[in-house]
Each structure stands twice: as structure tokens, then as C-alpha cells.
């Protein structure tokens, strides 16, 4: 297929794609599908649209992550904000990038490009907060993923009744939360935690530490006077947390990254029988977003955690 336009497309984004006018995107998809059939390439069942909104430098890794999810049949729509009313688009078999779109048209673009009758997940990697609120109307799921999330979290709290929200940090914390929750299956751990004094979190990422603390604050019966302390230790590693300690009357409850970083350990006191070794698993963007694509429902535990996290400082 010949490129129809040569505009200002982001370098490195969908490098195998063809540049077309916005109005020609659907026709381009149809031509590519026809080419695919001629090549006898296997067809894939499509299950969702993933819309990624963010600055150009955030779109390239997102596109690569979606490509690496595996055989999941999704159409990816990658949009960077700008001031264009007639933006340039680049199309591949199952993705389209739209460069420099004026924020006011974001929801129109998504409405035109999303697959009908299938869920749409918005992966928000940056952009105007107003557009974020607008796009909530079109999203079955809104996944936040920005470095400084305070303003976005404030906007998100107002959207809880309109769509299912989450933060990709919450996904990365799933195993940490599960490990602690499984320790709480043991009655002696629950009894001990009822006399919680301090939660100490050593986090590689401040907002992740706050979100984890917010989850504990909103989930546990919180004794009066119990405190939360979060220390941020910047590391090169992908894990959101390094160590979590719940100081109680009895022995501490601890989650701690193990040497080698392939696993972390969950222990209650010194009892080895109740300890768990938990694989940290891959924390790549593709694995995190791949996990999120399997979720459709509103996550009340996340919503409560987010409300609590906004009040907690790292």
C-alpha cells in the first residue's frame, strides 16, 4: 500500500505503518485486511479497542507493549495531543496512530475509530485533564499511567460513577497485595494486625507506596493512632515496592524483596511455616497492560484505596 500523505508523524511510532488522512483510516484498515487475506495470514478474533493517549515519547513504548501482549486481538489507537484539527494518521494491521490532535477532538476521534460493540479501554499516559474527563464517557475502562498523578487522581475520583478506573501502579501492586492478603488468611495474623501501630513502606515509586498504604488504610480496621510512613528509594528496578512492614503488638508482618529480585518474601513473625515466597513476575508494560485488558469491572477496592492515598504523603 502506498503512503497517502507525508505529515508530521512521530518518529519511530508504528514504523511499518502507512500514513493516511484521518478520513481514510477505515479504508486503509480494509485494504490491509485484504492484503492479509491474500497472504493467507491467520485471522484473529478482536476482543477490544485499546486507546492510548499521551505525549509522543510515551506512545512508542505503549505501541511496542501492545504489540508484545501476544495474540490478543485488539485494535490499538495511539493519540498524541497537539493543536491539529486535521491530524496525520499512520495505520498498520491492527493499530492506528494519530499525531498532534487538538484535545477537544479526542473523544470524536475515539468514537470514530473504536471497534463497535466491543469494550474500549483507555490507557492514559498524559494529556489535558479536561480531555481525560471527556473520554471517560467512551471508555469501558480508564487506566491511568502517569508519573505525577495527583491532579489526575483528583479528576478520577469524580469519575468513579461513570466508568471503571484503575492505575497501572495498582496492577503492579497486585502480587504484593495478594501476598499480604494471603497472610491475613491466618487468624493469628489478623489478630495481631488488629493492634497495628505503624505501617512502614519503602517504595521505589512514591505514588505506588501511597496507593499501597491507601489500600491498607481503607481495608483494615484502623486502630486510632496507627501511623503510616513512606520512604522513597529510587532504584533502577521495576518493582514498585522494596519492603513493607506492619508493626503490631506482636511480631511484625513483613513483605520484603529478596536478593536476586526474582521473588519477594511474605512473613508473619519468625514462623517459617506461614512464610510465602512470591515470584515478582514480569513488570513490563506489556504484561501489566495485558493483565488490565482482562478486567472489565469497577474495582471498589481501588477506588477506596485511591481516595485514601490522596490524603497520604510520601
Amino acid at each position: 500500500m502506498e503512503d497517502a500523505v507525508t505529515g508530521k508523524m512521530i518518529d519511530g511510532l508504528l514504523p511499518a505503518g502507512h500514513d493516511v488522512k484521518f478520513s481514510e483510516i477505515e479504508a486503509a484498515f480494509a485494504r490491509l485486511a485484504h492484503d492479509r487475506r491474500r497472504r493467507r495470514a491467520p485471522a484473529r478474533a478482536l476482543i477490544a479497542t485499546v486507546i492510548v493517549v499521551g505525549p509522543p515519547e510515551q506512545l512508542i513504548p505503549a505501541a511496542e507493549a501492545i504489540e508484545h501482549i501476544g495474540d490478543v486481538g485488539v485494535r490499538a489507537i495511539l493519540i498524541s495531543e497537539g493543536n491539529q484539527t486535521e491530524p496525520v494518521a499512520r495505520v498498520t494491521d491492527n493499530a492506528v496512530a494519530v499525531s498532534g490532535l487538538a484535545p477537544g477532538y479526542l473523544n470524536n476521534a475515539v468514537a470514530a475509530l473504536r471497534l463497535s460493540s466491543l469494550p474500549a479501554a483507555v490507557w492514559w499516559r498524559g494529556g489535558s485533564t479536561a480531555a481525560f474527563a471527556d473520554i471517560a464517557e467512551l471508555a469501558d475502562r480508564l487506566i491511568m499511567d502517569i508519573d505525577q498523578p495527583d491532579d489526575l487522581w483528583s479528576a478520577a475520583v469524580r469519575l468513579f460513577d461513570r466508568t471503571a478506573l484503575t492505575d497501572l501502579r495498582w496492577t503492579a501492586l497486585t502480587r504484593w497485595r495478594a501476598a499480604l492478603a494471603h497472610l491475613f488468611d491466618l487468624p493469628n495474623v489478623r489478630r495481631s494486625a488488629a493492634r497495628l501501630k505503624t505501617v512502614m513502606i519503602n517504595a521505589a515509586d512514591g505514588p505506588s507506596g501511597r496507593l499501597f498504604a491507601g489500600w491498607l488504610r481503607s481495608s483494615l480496621p484502623w486502630p486510632s493512632g496507627a501511623t503510616i510512613s513512606i520512604r522513597v528509594t529510587h532504584t533502577q528496578h521495576a518493582s514498585p515496592l522494596e519492603c513493607v512492614t506492619l508493626e503490631c503488638d506482636g511480631p511484625p508482618i513483613t513483605l520484603k524483596m529478596r536478593e536476586g529480585r526474582a521473588c519477594f518474601e511474605a512473613t508473619a513473625g519468625n514462623s517459617s511455616e506461614s512464610g510465602r515466597i512470591v515470584p515478582t513476575e514480569e513488570m513490563s508494560l506489556s504484561s501489566l497492560i495485558g493483565e488490565e485488558l482482562g478486567v472489565r469491572t469497577r474495582d471498589l477496592a481501588f477506588e477506596r484505596a485511591l481516595i485514601a492515598a490522596r490524603e497520604i504523603r510520601a
Binding site: A45, G70, T174, R175, L180, R258, I277, G290, G294
Partner: protein, 511 residues
């Protein structure tokens, strides 16, 4: 911010995407040095651990006749992960799990073994929720149950303790033996504690049958005699008896495949909608199907059943011997390696709709599928311009190896002429969701630990199934019974199977 009020005993489980784990469990595996344990159970435990589905307190005690220490059992665990679990070398996770593995050696009928087991459970600090897994030959099921009861191992020691028992197939060899075994187990355990495993029910696509039928509004209205012409269920294997000749000689395809796996699959296809997705509700409706099935034997003849044995042939690019030439098989064996049968259900939904089942060893392909063939349209209005007969609509549920669902329908061939051709619309489980499908044993082990018996066979289903199958064996044992037919290894079965279905004006699907 206050904690949610209705979050159960563990406040942190609320909203957790990883499902709650079972209560503290000690898994006691009888037959711990055997093939099933090495190939399936130990890798399943590792993968459950990786998925954080094992409880915080979890202990495995292996029991077998082989001499082994705890450490040697742990070495066997690592070896089985390497060979069958895709874990090339021990990692932190397998090392942590291995530390919870223990071993007890002894003869299954020796009371001393059970004394050692009691002592081992105590010394290793095992929790009081105990799941016994009988991965041993079926003739010792009853003995083990007797000995466990005599050693008070079937009774929990405290209020939050529990006892469950998983029994592998075959569950009995005929109706009488199945009833006797049920009665023997029920002496010590009630039905809610007994889990009769059928690994077919742990397969993702088999479970998806329930979702496909009862979570979609468009299929159920046509899922009946008015629209469905017939159903074909095929379970084809390319392998022969391999190392299982001793077992297979006494079993045959009818006991090995039809009485359990294929009856379960047929029940899922034929069942009425359950009121809820609960173990008893689902199993009640499945039982209705088996109870509504017409007997296969009338006047001493099993006319609706064809049995056959494979002779030498060529499979997967290599010559293979006939069944009677296999090591461990009697040269005049009459054990069937192939079954084809026609079943009818006496119910409003299915009256007059034949269910054809075929299963065999040394067939050309390894595949298991359910094919629902719909009736043809009442009138072929295109016959003048497109005289080729219309292919009836077909809905195919691929159980293995390529799990998915396909629908065949007629479409117009592109062009100026009105020409019709059948096309397939395919949904592939693996590629649509892009996530690995868990092994059946992972699902089933976890369900048993959680006490969920939905995917396990209930005593009355097992007995009802044997009540259908046992008369066939009796008919075959008659001096006037026809000898098994034969088919060449690498063929799709004997001529008699083709004749069975051809007598109804139909034919087996080409796979």
C-alpha cells in the same frame, strides 16, 4: 475512610483480583512416586504456587511403596518440574515449595503406614485441612479408605479442620463395583468430601460449554430437537496402549473413555439450564441427561454399539503394530480399542436426536470435538441457480488440541452468479485472549482444596453411567456376541462404525 463492612473474615481479600486461596491444606498423595504425580500433580502444584493460589500454610506428604527420604522426594519434585513443568532448574519458588514436601514409605494395606502418616503430619506441622489424593491403582481405593478411617485420619482434629478425598478414574469396573466402592467410601466420608476426578471436566473448553450455552441468549433457543439434526462427539488418539497394556486389557475404550469422559461431555451438551452455577445444581441437571438415556442393549444385543481393535498400520509417519502385537497384550485379546455408539435421550428437548460417540486409539489425528449439526432449511430456494446441496449449519466445539468454537454457514460466492458455498467462522480460545490456558489438573486440584465439586463426578452420575455401560459388557461376554471388528492403525475406524451412522442416512465428520 472506613474499612468495607462486608468483606468477610479477611479484610484484605476484598476486591483482590487473584482469587482467594484455599484454607490451610495438607495434601497427601498416595502413589507419590507414580507417573501421574510426576507428570501432572507436582507440576500443577508448582504452577498454582506461581499463581499464588496455594494457601499460606500448605504441606504435601507423598505416600508410596518406593523407598525414599524427604529429600529424595524433593529431588523427584525438581526432576518432574524439569521434565514436565517447564522449569529447567530449581528457582526460589520451587525451593520454597520443596521445603514443604515430605514423604512416607509403606505398603498401602499395612496399618503401620498410616501410623507413620499420622506421625509425619504431626511432625511436619501440617494443617488440619487434609486432602487425600488416591493416585494409585483402583483396587486399593477401598483398602486405603479403610486404613485411613481406622487411623482416625478421616476425622478432623479441630473445628476448622476438614477432610476430602480425590479418587482417580476408573471408579469401579462395572455397576456393582462402583456401587460397592461408593458404599465403602460413604462409610467414612459423606458425598461432599469425595471428589471423583475426571480430567476432561478440568479442560477449559469443556467448562466453556456451560458459558457458551448459558451465558449467551442466541444459542439456547435453537439447542433442541426442532433445530438440531444430530450431535457427534469424537475423541481420537494417535497413540496406542503404550505402557498401559496391563490396565488397558482390563478396561478397553468403553471403560477408559466412554463411561466417564464422554458421558460427562454428552451431559454438558444435553443438560437443561441449571438454576445456579453451583455444584449440586449443575450436577443435578447432568444426572438428568444420563437418566434419560435409552439403554444401549435390547434383547441381549448391543446393536447401537460398535467395538473394534486396531491392526498394524501407519500413524504419524511410522509403521505401528496391531493391538494384539503390543507388549503385554494377549494375542487373542478381545479388548476394544475403538468404540462407536449411538445414544438417544428420552426428553422433550432431545427426543429423536441421535448423539453419536466415537473414540479410539491409533486413529489418524489426535483430536477431541463436539459437533452439533443443525437441520437443513426446509426448502432450498436456490436449487435452480446453485444446484449444489446446501451444507447444514454446524457448530463445532474443539476440546483439544486447538481449543475453540467454529460455526459453518452458507454464504454467497462473490460474483455475478448466485452460487453458494459453506464457510467457517472460527473462534480460537488461545489467540482471542492471549493468555495461557491452565492445565486441567491445576483447576481440579484447586477446586478440591476449595471444596468446590462442580467439576467432579457425583456418585449417582457415576452409577447411572455404569448402569448404561455395564449391560454392553454383559452383551459382549455372551457366547453369541460378535467378535470385535478391526481397523487398520491410521484409519478412522472400522467399516461397521460407518455403517452404524450410515443406517440413519448420516456420516461421520471428516476431521
Amino acid at each position: 475512610m472506613t474499612a468495607p463492612q462486608n468483606s468477610g473474615a479477611n479484610p484484605l481479600l476484598d476486591g483482590l483480583r487473584i482469587e482467594p486461596t484455599p484454607a490451610p491444606t495438607a495434601l497427601v498423595i498416595f502413589g507419590a512416586s507414580g507417573d501421574l504425580t510426576r507428570r501432572k500433580l507436582l507440576p500443577a502444584l508448582y504452577h498454582l504456587s506461581r499463581a499464588q493460589r496455594l494457601p499460606a500454610r500448605f504441606t504435601v506428604v507423598g505416600v508410596a511403596r518406593s523407598e525414599m527420604t524427604d529429600d529424595q522426594f524433593r529431588d523427584q519434585f525438581h526432576a518432574s518440574l524439569k521434565e514436565f513443568g517447564d522449569v529447567p532448574k530449581p528457582d526460589d519458588l520451587s525451593a520454597a515449595l520443596a521445603r514443604r514436601l515430605f514423604y512416607v514409605q509403606g505398603e498401602m494395606d499395612d496399618t503401620a503406614l498410616y501410623e507413620k502418616l499420622v506421625a509425619k503430619l504431626k511432625t511436619c506441622g501440617a494443617p488440619d485441612g487434609v486432602l487425600f489424593y488416591l493416585a494409585v491403582p483402583p483396587m486399593v481405593y477401598g483398602t486405603i479408605a479403610d486404613r485411613l478411617a481406622a487411623a482416625h485420619l478421616t476425622e478432623p482434629q479441630n473445628a476448622d479442620g476438614w477432610r476430602r478425598l480425590i479418587v482417580e478414574k476408573p471408579f469401579g469396573t462395572d455397576l456393582d463395583s462402583a456401587k460397592a466402592l461408593n458404599q465403602r467410601l460413604h462409610k467414612y466420608l459423606d458425598e461432599s468430601q469425595i471428589f471423583r476426578i475426571d480430567h476432561y471436566l478440568g479442560k477449559e473448553t469443556v467448562q466453556n460449554l456451560l458459558v457458551f450455552r448459558f451465558a449467551n441468549g442466541m444459542f439456547e433457543p435453537v439447542w433442541n430437537r426442532r433445530y438440531i439434526d444430530h450431535v457427534q462427539i469424537t475423541a481420537a488418539e494417535t497413540v496406542g496402549v503404550e505402557q498401559r497394556a496391563a490396565y488397558y486389557e482390563g478396561a478397553g475404550a468403553l471403560r477408559d473413555m466412554v463411561q466417564n469422559h464422554l458421558m460427562q461431555v454428552l451431559a454438558l451438551v444435553g443438560m437443561e439450564p441449571p438454576i445456579t452455577f453451583s455444584a449440586e445444581s449443575v450436577r443435578d441437571r447432568k444426572l438428568d441427561v444420563i437418566l434419560s438415556m435409552q439403554p444401549f442393549v435390547a434383547n441381549g444385543d448391543a446393536d447401537h454399539v460398535v467395538r473394534a481393535q486396531y491392526t498394524g498400520g501407519w500413524v504419524n509417519g511410522a509403521p505401528v503394530p496391531g493391538y494384539r502385537e503390543e507388549a503385554g497384550v494377549s494375542p487373542d485379546s478381545t479388548t476394544e480399542t475403538y468404540i462407536a455408539l449411538r445414544a438417544y435421550l428420552d426428553s422433550w428437548r432431545w427426543a429423536g436426536v441421535p448423539f453419536y460417540i466415537r473414540t479410539g486409539k491409533r486413529l489418524p489425528k489426535r483430536t477431541t470435538e463436539i459437533a452439533i449439526q443443525f437441520r437443513k432449511p426446509p426448502l432450498h430456494i436456490f436449487s435452480r441457480v446453485s444446484p449444489t446441496p446446501i451444507s447444514p449449519n454446524l457448530l463445532i466445539v474443539n476440546v483439544q488440541p486447538d481449543e475453540g468454537i467454529s460455526v459453518r454457514f452458507e454464504a454467497k460466492l462473490p460474483g455475478t452468479r448466485m452460487q453458494l458455498a459453506p464457510v467457517m467462522m472460527n473462534f480460537r480460545y488461545g489467540s482471542a485472549f492471549g493468555r495461557p490456558v491452565p492445565e486441567a489438573y491445576e483447576t481440579l486440584l484447586l477446586d478440591a482444596m476449595l471444596g468446590d465439586a462442580t467439576l467432579y463426578a457425583r456418585h449417582d452420575f457415576v452409577e447411572a453411567s455404569w448402569a448404561l455401560v455395564t449391560p454392553i459388557h454383559h452383551a459382549w461376554a455372551s457366547p453369541t456376541a460378535k467378535a470385535p471388528a478391526t481397523y487398520e492403525a491410521g484409519d478412522w475406524g472400522p467399516r461397521e462404525a460407518d455403517e452404524l451412522i450410515a443406517a440413519d442416512g448420516r456420516r461421520w465428520r471428516t476431521l
